[in-house]
Symmetry: C2
Subunit: 241 residues, 2 copies
């Protein structure tokens, strides 16, 4: 059983440590990925190509973290043969790591666009308000999904999933606005398309944060809440309290 | 050890059957997903809204398959405590299923665009040649990634990864062409953007096929070939022959 600290206790002190360690590695990777998202958005808004380059360089480090955590999970599966909540922990970690890596990829793509956009007309920042706004929201979603993981908090995970819907709507409305803008000023098309790709990346980051949140609910409650819709997800989480 | 048929043999006949079964479920899901990609592209090119609607409806079935296969994997991990190549099989399956589900999502998105685009001017099929061309390529990648999985064929998996690079380049060149077209004819912007989203989905499908191919190499050879670049991947696969 998961105790108040959320981790089960085994007679083997070393097994306890291994579980604690892989979990802390996931959270460390999550912290770095979250920072990448923040930095990528700042780099874009401030046209800071130095910061953007840094984000792109750090992406390798994130890939390496994914590999290491995967190896740890396989080792624990092979040697410790975890069951019940320990098995759910390992499964959640090995899947969350995929989403974290993809969030890192999206941050890196945003940084690439930041470099492109910094070269263009500096007076044209159409769509930047939306990037800042949606960017803040998805960064917070990533942060809260990781907090939920750290605290085994299904309730907090649920709020992350709830936020995703709002992000999707804001993304769609920003898209419509930018499309109108392109029609009015065709010379802006190339630039606006870059902004659209950034918004798309942010929307994807929100999806990945939601995936992690769903894995937290699975970890804590043992229920698979993917694809069941928000209402049923809310019911499941209430039932598990 | 993996034998010529690629599956290990256990004294427990039932365990053998469980491994064989989850693998065949993955391949069945893969077959359906591949059909979804084919149908989504046909629906778009032939403006066949009936077929597009069908693709969108079948997506639920794919999500359900993902859940079932995941449950099977967890059950095997908990009860059989697989090691070595069996463990790699379960890990590869539980990760491939994520990519297959996402490919299904992208097919469903393409079907949605097919419905949108069928409502517009039927004489404007700018970008459709590229959709057909890149669509054929990524559909083949998905098919070959699944074949490689079925036959434990690392060499074939490698060719899938190699194709992904070509797809990325064709995608970029199609994008540039469509951008020029939008600038020349701003009235087409909304329509061309839909075509761009379809191309983006196809490019993503190629990425997912490549992920599955990398998992096949991991399954067969035990090497993690993600993020190491094509050249090193080729070396690893040659070494494993």
């Amino acid at each position: 059983m998961i105790d108040k600290e959320g981790l089960s206790h085994h007679i083997s002190q070393q097994y306890n440590e291994e579980l604690e360690e892989v979990r802390s590695h996931l959270l460390a990777m999550g912290g770095l990925v979250e920072k990448q998202v923040t930095d990528a958005i700042s780099a874009l808004i401030d046209a800071d190509t130095g910061l953007a380059t840094q984000v792109r360089e750090i992406d390798d480090q994130i890939n390496q973290m994914e590999r290491n955590i995967d190896e740890e999970c396989v080792r624990i599966l092979a040697r410790r043969q975890p069951a019940a909540s320990d098995l759910r922990l390992i499964i959640s970690i090995s899947k969350s790591v995929i989403d974290l890596e993809r969030i890192g990829d999206e941050a890196s793509k945003i940084a690439k666009r930041a470099i492109e956009l910094s070269e263009g007309a500096s007076d044209n920042s159409k769509g930047y308000v939306e990037i800042r706004h949606i960017g803040d929201k998805v960064r917070k979603m990533v942060q809260e999904a990781l907090d939920a993981f750290a605290r085994f908090d299904a309730q907090l995970a649920l709020t992350v999933a709830q936020q995703d819907k709002a992000v999707d709507q804001e993304y769609k409305s920003a898209l419509r606005e930018l499309m109108t803008y392109m029609m009015e000023d065709p010379r802006s098309i190339s630039r606006v398309l870059s902004v659209i790709w950034v918004l798309r990346s942010l929307e994807r980051i929100g999806d990945h944060a939601r995936n992690i949140a769903e894995l937290v609910i699975y970890l804590v409650q043992g229920t698979d809440v993917r694809h069941i819709g928000l209402t049923r997800m809310e019911e499941e989480v209430q039932r598990g309290r």
